[in-house]
């Protein structure tokens, strides 16, 4: 059963969890709904891990599963079908190692333009703070798959930031 201990653990990483929900959903209202549903479902669950790391993984997996259910119910499951078939939704020629100065709004625009699998893996590692092994456990894939997805996801993010569709606002003073 969900107890005070779980409540305290969840409170410690709720920012990461909400950030994960924001990364998965394209709008804030959906992210709020997803986050709230996940929290309430967790608090009503009969079987809850009683070890902090396992609880954290369980909480993120619960959130992810709710999101997948939502996508399937809305018939927006193309990205997942492609993922199952091994198709990389953002698979284009890698660009060179050009330096990119980013800012928050530009990154948000570019991030939302990524495929759902790429947003998912980046959100788990960068926002959720999970290790590659934990992410592999969450996604039920080998660690090597997580490594390659992270690499492709960041390459795709770099392309989105540099292809002119996303306007990189000046980060520092005096920069046009």
């Amino acid at each position: 059963m969900f107890g005070e201990m779980h409540h305290a653990w969840l409170n410690a990483f709720r920012r990461n969890l909400f950030g994960y929900a924001c990364a998965l959903c394209s709008d804030t209202a959906s992210a709020e709904d997803l986050y709230q549903d996940a929290v309430l479902r967790a608090m009503s669950a009969h079987s809850v891990p009683d070890e902090p790391r396992r609880f954290r993984v369980w909480m993120f997996r619960l959130t992810r599963n709710l999101w997948i259910d939502l996508l399937r119910s809305r018939r927006h499951h193309d990205a997942w079908a492609d993922e199952a078939a091994g198709v990389d939704c953002d698979d284009r020629v890698l660009t060179g190692g050009e330096e990119i100065t980013v800012n928050r709004l530009a990154v948000r625009q570019a991030f939302l333009a990524l495929s759902k699998p790429h947003r998912d893996v980046l959100a788990l590692v960068d926002i959720g703070g999970f290790s590659y092994d934990e992410t592999a456990e969450l996604l039920d894939v080998p660690r090597g798959t997580v490594m390659s997805r992270i690499s492709r996801a960041r390459a795709a993010l770099a392309r989105e930031l540099s292809d002119g569709q996303v306007v990189a606002l000046p980060l520092n003073r005096g920069r046009a």
Binding site: G3, E99, R104, F111, A123, L157, N172
Partner: protein, 289 residues
Amino acid sequence: MSRAGGTGVRPDDEAMLNAYVDGELGADEAAALALRAAGEPALAARIAALHQMKAGVVMLQGEAPPLPPMAKLPPMPAPGSAPRRHRRGLMAAGALALVSAVAAAVAVLTLVLLERPASHQPDDLAVQPAAAPVVAFGTAASVIDPALVSHDAWVAAYRPGAASLDAPSWLEAPMQAAGLRLVHLEPGRAGALHHGFTGSNDCRLSLFETAITTTGPAEERALRLSLEPSLLRAEWRVQGRAYEMLARDMSRTRFIAIATALHDVSRERRVAGERLLAGLEASRLPCTA
């Protein structure tokens, strides 16, 4: 294996670079990569870009709504037994009030993000909407940067030949390997401890260390690099401390090598390994001052 892009980085190397940035490489592998980056400016730039990419995604976290209290909640209906809208109708009135409060908070957060000046800001998405002093520097209006002010003031006042000071043990070895010595140590602005380092070629590098005293759990922040022609900046948070490193006239490769090394050793305040130190020595390049 085909080569990708102008860096000569192969696709399998690309995965390794990302693992390095995510702290997923073993100590020996990480040190070997740092050593290689010290001698390959394009590789160092690629690593810096990945650090920025990671830091950019980390910044997407927003202020999370508070958790509902540990009160007795109505049982969740069985999956598929009620429409999503009806399930929300079954929740306590407090949940609806929570959503309203969250919507209001998000509206404020969005407004602040849209109106935030296009200048460097501390990487803190627990947004502080209180107005900061705005000073025009002859170009776009910008916000006073306490660390940059302290760095520039120290550089302006510094005279060559200043006596070396005792650096903290975790800093001593990597900075010595980087060819820098501590010549300035005093409380800076905003509660930070200002370490000022200088090298034989008139390099000036500042490291600001601040204890994080927020009430919530101290959060780690990934290494974030800003490499403009006239200002090099690195920021990160680990182990309840915030670090900011600044230099104006240092080669990017050297700055990246030092930032990456300090980020690594600051995680556990451990003594830097031999390979890490070798990488720093290899990255010594004359400053451009």
